[in-house]
Structure formats: structure tokens, C-alpha cells
Symmetry: C2
Subunit: 215 residues, 2 copies
């Protein structure tokens, strides 16, 4: 089997370091102990080859033999088929991982991205637009708090890619202090990110971009 190849930017500014989505893929690969190597694509000059691999001009993408797959969520589900460390193999466990992966990427990330971007942009929190986004975010966090108050992990009492994705989505909310009123969500993020595979993935991403500064 040829190694898996994860492609990310060669460099990014300071602000997104530690949050670029290749981290999700590194994390999953480390959890599953799958062999892989990392390649770089220019951050500043995104040419036709980049758009051919990733139609939105973003990262990451994964090369698996003759398959090239983009969208971090899709890559995680693709990898989950290779290792029971990432997803149970029984039909019910698979269905539950699938629903929570999509819940993280759609039901929770839909409000959390504009919420975090509005914070990042420094927009005032009192406009009708900001209040709308805050209310949408609160609606979802209230429900995630109720879910996570009752269990350590989302599916089958064990860590899966569903937790990996949900924790990474909530980690962005936490970065802007959005989990202060949600102790179960906060504890879930802490629990997931204390795993050795997350710590290695995080350190590796930071080192990758720091090496570009030095070059």
C-alpha cells in the first residue's frame, strides 16, 4: 500500500495556525496509526493544479492511490473505513458516527463559523445581525450541552471521528470564549484535545508552518 499523502498550505499567517483543517486529518491519521506524509501547496499562489484538487482553493486534500479527496469531513469518513480506531464496524455504530459527523459539519458549524468570524472581525455584538448569529449559536450549544452532559463521547461510549470533528468545531467556539456557559461542551473539548494524537497533530501543524517562516 502506498502511503497516504496529506496536502496543506506551505505557510499561513499566525492567526489561523493551530486551526487549519489539515489538523483534523493529521489527528485522525495519528489515532489510526496510518502511515502518511505531508506535502505543501502554495498559500499565496493558488493555481489550476490547486483548484483541480480542491475546487474552492482551500486545504486539505488527501491522496490515496488514484483517489484524491477534499473536504476534511469527507476525508475523515474515508479514513474511518480503513480503521476501527475511527469508527465502529457495526451498522448502528456506523450510522451514529455518520449522523454526528454531519451534525458537527452542518447543524453546529453553520452557526459557529459566522459566530466566530464575526468575533474575529470585531463586529459589535449589539447589532440585529450579531444578535441573530448569537441566538442561532446559543440554540445549538444549548442542545449540545444537554447531549454532552450525559456522555463522554458521542457514539458507542468510545472516541470516534464524530468526536474528533465535533471537538474541532467546538474548539473554534472555545477560542473566542463561547463555551464559558457550557461546562459539558468545554469538558468535552478538553477531553478530546488531551489525547496524544491531537497533541501530536497540533504540534506537527505548528512546526510545519514555523519551518516555512525559517526557510
Amino acid at each position: 500500500m502506498s502511503d497516504l499523502i496529506l496536502t496543506t498550505y506551505d505557510w499561513v499567517p499566525e492567526a489561523p495556525r493551530g486551526m487549519v483543517r489539515d489538523l483534523r486529518v493529521r489527528w485522525a491519521l495519528e489515532e489510526a496509526a496510518l502511515p502518511y506524509r505531508v506535502e505543501s501547496t502554495p498559500f499565496r499562489d493558488r493555481g489550476p493544479d490547486h483548484f483541480a484538487a480542491q475546487p474552492f482553493g482551500q486545504v486539505p486534500w488527501l491522496t490515496d492511490g488514484d483517489i484524491v479527496i477534499f473536504e476534511s469531513g469527507a476525508i475523515l469518513l474515508h479514513l474511518a473505513e480503513k480503521s476501527s480506531a475511527l469508527m465502529p464496524t457495526d451498522p448502528r455504530g456506523r450510522a451514529e458516527v455518520l449522523e454526528w459527523v454531519i451534525a458537527a459539519l452542518n447543524s453546529v458549524d453553520l452557526p459557529s463559523q459566522p459566530w466566530a468570524l464575526f468575533r474575529f472581525m470585531g463586529f459589535p455584538r449589539t447589532s440585529p445581525e450579531a444578535e441573530f448569529v448569537e441566538t442561532f449559536m446559543k440554540l445549538r450549544l444549548d442542545r449540545m450541552e444537554a447531549v454532552l452532559a450525559k456522555r463522554d463521547w458521542l457514539v458507542a461510549d468510545r472516541f470516534t471521528v464524530a468526536d474528533l470533528l465535533m471537538a474541532d468545531v467546538l474548539r473554534q467556539v472555545n477560542k473566542f470564549d463561547g463555551l464559558a456557559a457550557y461546562p459539558a461542551c468545554h469538558a468535552f473539548v478538553a477531553r478530546a484535545t488531551s489525547r496524544p494524537a491531537f497533541k501530536k497533530a497540533y504540534a506537527d501543524q505548528m512546526a510545519h508552518f514555523a519551518a516555512a517562516d525559517a526557510a
Copy 2:
């Protein structure tokens, strides 16, 4: 094999009719000619049974024997395993359907939902917040236009659940006249929604909620 059971609200107000996400599942079930029946859950009183099946208190969910699965995107991928009418069976075709399903639910729906909700709320289009959302939406539509200018369907020159989802996400943008400058996106939505399975799904949803009015 017991029939699949699709659960949606018993009733919704006029505005969301034709857009409630059970439509995606009806559409897929019709494309695949899978037997199913529809059950209702109260829109006004969402009790513990509802939240047990759908933790965000939304619809739809699908019951497939002893599996209950929520998130329309997850339900579509679950159904796609049952019918090659919804997804090719080769590894590359499966990976491409997966990446475009996630692209629809995350890369495109992330800006399109706040964009559409801001329009629905009637927020002015000149605030910094609105301009931010407009720019985010334009970034994604520009890229989708480039993709859809070159192909009728996203994967393998044939209709798949990736088209179903992307068309349904873009249909919401189109509802608020967001595709006027994007002829390929507009033609894609028209092409997908001219399929008999979409028309039946749409008519069935409208009839389901109209029956509740009459009751």
C-alpha cells in the same frame, strides 16, 4: 425488509413549505424507488421522544429497522449504500460523492444559510455584517459556477446524492434571487429539480402540510 419510515413535522407555517428537509429524503427515496412511509411529529410540542430521535429538535429522521438516523445529509449517505441509483459503487465514485456531499453541507451551506436567513429577516444589505456574508457567499458561488460550467452533474457524469444535496442548497439561494449572476448554478438547479423524483417529493411535502391545515 421492513419499510423505511421517514419522520417529519405534522405541520409547518407557509414560509418553509417546499424547503423542509424531509424533502431531500423523499427525493432520494423516490430516485432509488425504495419503499417508505411518512410519519409525523408535532411541530408545536417537541417532547423528549423528539429530542431522543433528533437532538436538535428538528426534522427529519429516518427509521431503518433498529437504526434511527438524523441529519438529512447523513440519511442520504445511509440510503446511498442501498442503491446505485444514488451513488456509484466503485471506490473513486464513492469518494467523489462523499466529498461533494460534504462540500454542499459545509463549504456551500455555511455561507448560504446565514445569507438566506439575513435576506429572510430583511436585514439591510449595506451593514459590515451583511457585506461580510455577501462576500463569503460570492466566494463560494464563483467557484461553484466554475465547476458547474464544465459539467452537468458533479460526479461520474450522472445524477447522484451529491447533486441532490448541492441542488437543494443552491435552491435556497435561488429562492432569494442569489443565482442571477450564476447561469451555470441556476441551470444546475433547474436540471436537478426537473427530475420526476424531485417533483413527486415536492408535491408530497406540500400535500402533507396542506392536509394538516385541513384537519
